[in-house]
Symmetry: C2
């Protein structure tokens, strides 16, 4: 590579000043963008909102990345960990021309600059953070911790991509970020792209120093060498010296990346995990901003975090500081009279899709190819009659996923915390492996340098990798223990917000849905107990925008297959599938499953003792595999004891059907809902999760006052599967008891049955305490039609 010449450094410095100027302008000004007039109060926004502190560092890195992109013709995705440094990303995508292409009313002249400044953190304008609105971004950065894991997710299966990932030293204190450094143990230098982490130590958070910035270089070197990287340090504050250092360092680390990839992609690669380079940049927080304001240290201190000169509209002295600060960038050396960037500076930026703001990797929908999907019916369970055959739902799903992997070798991955096999998806290992870049021993099983399955004991890494993978145009599935998906609540939240906002921007193309399989669920935590019992993720997800979220509870294998296939075809959604892995009775044939799932919910005539046209005495509703089993068992008990009782069985697969169609696109109309649940009959509803969710979804429905929901009521321990249901009154006996309470017409007979069932419950408890397993009549119970 050619060495850096002084002239180039001076140009780089001017470009950087232009970005800094435009960043400050966004935070402060609503008029007079080029400071052609003396700065007056009315030029300054009344509410100053934004974050200056991190911005000059982000600008510094952007211009240096521009340099190497041009020199080496690279595809680079810039992940801006300190996403609150929004002004930097906006300034740079504006300078390189992307911004005006995406938003033509923000032109590359004085009028455009004025609009650009004004719109920032302004009603009707753009958010203060790097957001979906910001070209070139897949990462909001508002909730800190996920920059690096997004970067790795983007790099997987993108061998020609370099992901430059700026990690702030605040963010570096978070758990997810601290774990994400280990992602290098999962990056294959042959078939994946490269991640260049840039740890930006600007020393301070909102009101504190940062842990990592106060560590010395020796300790930092050990830490990152321990993580498996080769850290290269750049530090100081004199601009030209820093430009020289950074340009040389970029050359050095990119040569290293190239060498690693060349070696790995030669046929002679030993398979040894490479030590990828990273940059540690020490630069002052609020670099080039005011050194002191009101006698207090600002530059190189936490006081520069947000708006360093806080009263520039109301206080003339503050305004003079601001004006002096902006003029210190010498705008006359940066912009032509018309406000356009001077040509010799504009020439520094890459062109076309090489611009970081215009790379299609940051608008993944542009790159997305639909999955080639096998026919799920090839994997369907034979169901001669409902409840007669047993099957493991997730095992069938695994067979289907195996074929998905075969048909989509480079754009589909499964992530999960070490549970793909224990969740019985292990058929996938017939065609792929777990990816693993550390040593592999001869006795290891299904581990390889290349694999479609990624397992790590961190839900944060699983979630973040998959988000990065989806956001850059690929597909995937996260298989997780139900209880522990709460670990990533907040990440899901941010992804849902990203999807919601992206969908409102015509230039952002839809990406594949975020798909979850939640299994090893609350009702079957045989080995673990209370800590592993929580079905509340559904409640969390249900609060998100209706356009985005779907909750599926397939009751058996064929319904699970249909739902999986369906979810893999959707885009811009969060699909949550909850299904058990244990052997369980199978209810529906493939065709019946398809019809039932398409409807979302429906009457199971074969299990009902009243026909659909007939008004029943009682509705027994169920949602989830264990609730469905218990409901059908309850129906049998009722059918035997009270043969004249007209029962309707309703099964719900798609929970959002319960909501009104005015609130959710899958919601039933009131007419459709009433047709299922009646207007006035008692409904005993057995639900997989917390009962409140059913009430919150149905409170406006005609018959809601007659809904009696049984579900998880936060009672749990290590016990037998049936006893778990009993503890929470979701078992067949309690469901029948609940029904009897609402059937006064059956007087004596109901009372007799109640007595029988109460003694059954006692018998159950005595039995499990003696034998440690469920009674044979429970274990061996099979549905048979009573008719």
């Amino acid at each position: 590579m050619p060495s850096i010449v002084a002239n180039e450094l001076e140009l780089i410095d001017r470009y950087w000043r232009a970005a800094n100027f435009i960043s400050v302008g966004q935070i402060y000004l609503m008029d007079n963008p080029l400071l052609k007039e003396a700065l007056a109060a009315e030029h300054v926004k009344p509410r100053l909102l934004g974050h200056w502190g991190t911005t000059p560092g982000l600008n510094f890195l952007y211009v240096h990345l521009n340099r190497v992109i041009k020199q080496r013709d690279l595809d680079v995705l810039y992940i801006c960990g300190p996403g609150h440094g929004g002004p930097a990303m906006v300034a740079n995508t504006y300078l390189e021309g992307t911004y005006s292409e995406v938003y033509p009313d923000i032109s590359r002249d004085e009028a455009g600059l004025k609009k650009l400044f004004r719109q920032f953190s302004f009603p009707g304008g753009i958010p203060s953070h790097v957001a979906p609105e910001t070209p070139g971004s897949i990462h909001e950065g508002g909730e800190l911790g996920y920059a690096l894991v997004h970067a790795f997710g983007a790099a997987f299966d993108n061998p020609n991509l370099l992901v430059a990932c700026v990690v702030g030293d605040g963010e570096a204190e978070t758990g997810p970020l601290a774990a994400a450094w280990h992602s290098n143990k999962f990056l294959n230098p042959q078939s994946d792209g490269a991640v260049l982490p840039i740890l930006h130590l600007n020393g301070y958070k909102i009101a504190n120093p940062t842990i990592l910035a106060r560590m010395d270089d020796a300790e930092l070197t050990k830490l990152f060498e321990g993580y498996g990287y080769e850290p290269v340090f750049v530090g100081g504050s004199d601009p030209i010296t820093m430009h020289k250092q950074m340009a040389e360092t970029m050359d050095l680390v990119l040569d290293r990346v190239r060498a690693i990839q060349d070696a790995a992609r030669a046929q002679t690669w030993s398979g040894e995990r490479p030590r990828w380079p990273m940059i540690v940049l020490r630069s002052p927080k609020g670099w080039t901003g005011p050194k002191d304001v009101d006698g207090k240290k600002v530059e190189d201190f936490w006081r520069s975090h947000q708006v360093p000169v806080s009263n520039a509209r109301g206080d003339a002295a503050h305004r003079r500081i601001l004006e002096g600060w902006m003029k210190s960038y010498r705008p006359e050396e940066l912009f032509a009279e018309d406000g356009s960037l001077l040509p010799e500076l504009a020439a520094l930026a890459p062109t076309g899709t090489k611009r970081m703001g215009a790379t299609p990797y940051a608008n993944g929908g542009l790159l997305k190819r639909d999955l080639a999907l096998p026919d799920w019916k090839n994997h369907a369970v034979e169901v001669a009659a409902p409840g007669q055959s047993m099957g493991e739902a997730t095992r069938r799903m695994g067979q289907y996923l195996r074929d998905v992997i075969t048909l989509n070798a480079d754009n589909f991955r499964i992530v999960g915390p070490d549970e793909t096999a224990s969740n019985r998806l292990d058929a996938v290992f017939e065609v792929t492996n777990r990816v693993w870049m550390e040593a592999i021993q001869p006795y290891d099983v299904e581990l390889a340098h290349e694999g479609r399955v990624m397992e790590v004991l961190s839900e944060h890494l699983c979630q973040g990798w998959l988000e990065g993978y989806l956001l850059t145009g690929r597909h995937g599935l996260f298989s997780c223990y139900e209880a522990f998906i709460h670990i990533v609540d907040s990440m899901v939240n941010q992804h849902a917000k990203w999807l919601k906002t992206s969908a409102e921007l015509p230039w952002r193309k839809p990406i594949a849905s975020l798909n979850y399989l939640l299994t090893s669920h609350v009702w079957r935590q045989d080995h673990n107990g209370f800590s592993h019992q929580d079905p509340g993720f559904a409640d969390f997800v249900a609060n998100k925008k209706a356009d985005t979220v779907r909750l599926y509870f397939p009751p058996d294998a064929n319904t699970l297959l249909w739902v999986t296939d369906h979810c893999l075809r959707t885009y811009n959604r969060i699909n949550v599938i909850t299904a058990g892995k244990q052997p369980a009775p199978q209810w529906l044939t493939a065709d019946e499953a398809e019809a039932h799932c398409r409807a979302g919910a429906g009457v199971w005539e074969w299990a009902s003792s009243s026909s659909t046209s007939q008004e029943p005495d009682l509705v027994m509703a169920c949602c989830g595999d264990v609730p469905t089993l218990e409901t059908l068992a309850a129906v049998t008990i009722l059918g035997k004891a009270l043969p004249d009782l007209k029962i309707r069985v309703v099964n719900v697969v798609d929970l959002m059907t319960l909501q009104s169609h005015t609130e959710h696109p899958h919601g039933f109309t009131d007419e459709a809902f009433d047709a299922l649940f009646t207007k006035d009959r008692p409904v005993i509803f057995a639900y997989h999760g917390y009962p409140y969710l059913i009430h919150r979804l149905t409170y406006r429905r005609t018959n809601h006052r007659n809904f009696h929901v049984h579900g998880f009521r936060e009672e749990g321990t290590t016990t037998t599967p049936f006893d778990m249901a009993v503890m929470n009154e979701l078992d067949r006996f309690h469901l029948v008891l609940a029904a009897l309470k609402r059937l006064p017409a059956f007087g004596e007979r109901a009372a007799t049955l109640e007595t029988t069932l109460r003694s059954k419950l006692e018998e159950h408890w005595a039995y499990v305490c003696e034998h440690g397993e469920d009674m044979p009549e429970i274990l061996n119970w099979r549905w048979s039609a009573t008719s």
Copy 2:
């Protein structure tokens, strides 16, 4: 310290074998505990549930800690990161005698052993994990990631405590654990205890190797030296060699701990951060268990994770493996004929509260001292008339907390992610500092080696430190941005489960409540926008057991003071207080605030145009500071336009009053509820968070069908505060419009008002888009009684 003699090692080995024997017995046997008869099918449990893999390592560490406790007369708390290794903790607390003291029916003889074995993972027995039921534990370990952060929390302000913290190599992959190593930057060697991390590399998770175990010692050394520790390695599999290594290593590291503490506690300490020692233990997973089963590698591989011989009841060959395995511990060398531990082995355990199972640090309620609390009324805002004075609620709370800190110098801490000052609690810095063990610069502010405030940019660390601190008998508060408390959803979940179960155990004494201040809330995220806007933590918490959770929404400073004072007096609860930090009108005097908060919810007569005895035409209800302000503004508009409309204003502070008293101890009876909300009048309810929560809490109430709830509907960005309310229809204009829709009797006049308000909304939007701030009539609006 005396060197280790061979006889001692042999005794240690026998003790270890006894623990291993008892661990295996728990997993497998329901009878024949000492194998006095040949092992028969009926001696084996029908369902084999538990985790063997980690257990021998935990036992190994326990006996070595016993040795040093006795030799050095230490107080040691054992944090068992791999909490699924429950059999180990049960075995050891049984061997040392604690278990039989806590549970007298589990005697120290053959009959007791039989019960001990049988009860494990058995209905009516104990969970498979280390749980509240396990003496000596403050840590469940079921959800991995929090062992080390709990350990540090326990060590703070306990200068004489050594916390031995076993971190599994699976757990070490999680984000929270990876960040927790940095807790050493917050541990003061003078006034805090010591944490001895023991990284246990047994190589495998459920079905994979672990990242850290496959790193070589050189890379691990760098990593942990980089984190600031001095790692000492112990590795191998030959028991006696390993006992010798571990005993020597324990001596070495405890000498180092002593030297660090002596140096720091001498007056000559430089203040330099010590490099605390840690142990890295490499031992085989399933150590001493079957090497191979059915021709497959088990010991030293992931197949030993749970139950290595899976069919010992049904398969005679498996049963022989089990029998041989248990006999390999030579029970005849461990137990007397009556099943009691041989005296020379029993003598190895410490006695009394020095036993790790009996340390009061693991039953924090025993050590808890009530806080000395100042009179909150000393900090109350003067309120001459409602709405006439402005105040910042959290600033008053900060003044109160300052006095709490002064009065409780060694058992109260505030944690938070770098936001104590920005959340306006900075009065606390008049009497304390932020604790910080890295370098402190002359220009740093409120940083010191000792401080009651702990700030780190990791909600996980904040939460985990505080949990550890509370569980060992102290008090605290977590102040957090509202949106980002979701980061710790899952930790809160586990803590709630711990509290729920602990409360059912008479020997576990109540601990101080986990108190949250959620501020910088959804309605005032001026600098940040959508990513920082989420009020859903309340929904999450509301799913937990009613005995445990409380949700408070004080509308002003005096109510916030009362609620804070109240929460600091409670125990075994999770109290969530949501309150803004911005200047806002003050409504209630101290006395009024007290009466209102004690009731939990009530009519604000001064704001109502109907007296309480009179049936109103309309109820305007509010919960939260911004909703209260907007509701009162709406009431003013209605009062002016429709002076004959009888409005009742209801304010809710304690959200759980809305639930039925049959479901929550704070819930109102239906009579009380109807008295507030009427039986049939329209209720326009302005709520701080997602509207669904109000519906889910009130769906059984008489008047529920007339509840119209406005709240956050997932619309947000960086905009003006009032515009945020408008985007979500929580503003005064939309509240009035909602009321008008339900007041058909006001015909023409209502229609006219509606037209006015719709044009107001347009005027608002035009104004903010031009000026970037709210209209003066909004900014300057103050309540004044219309009467």
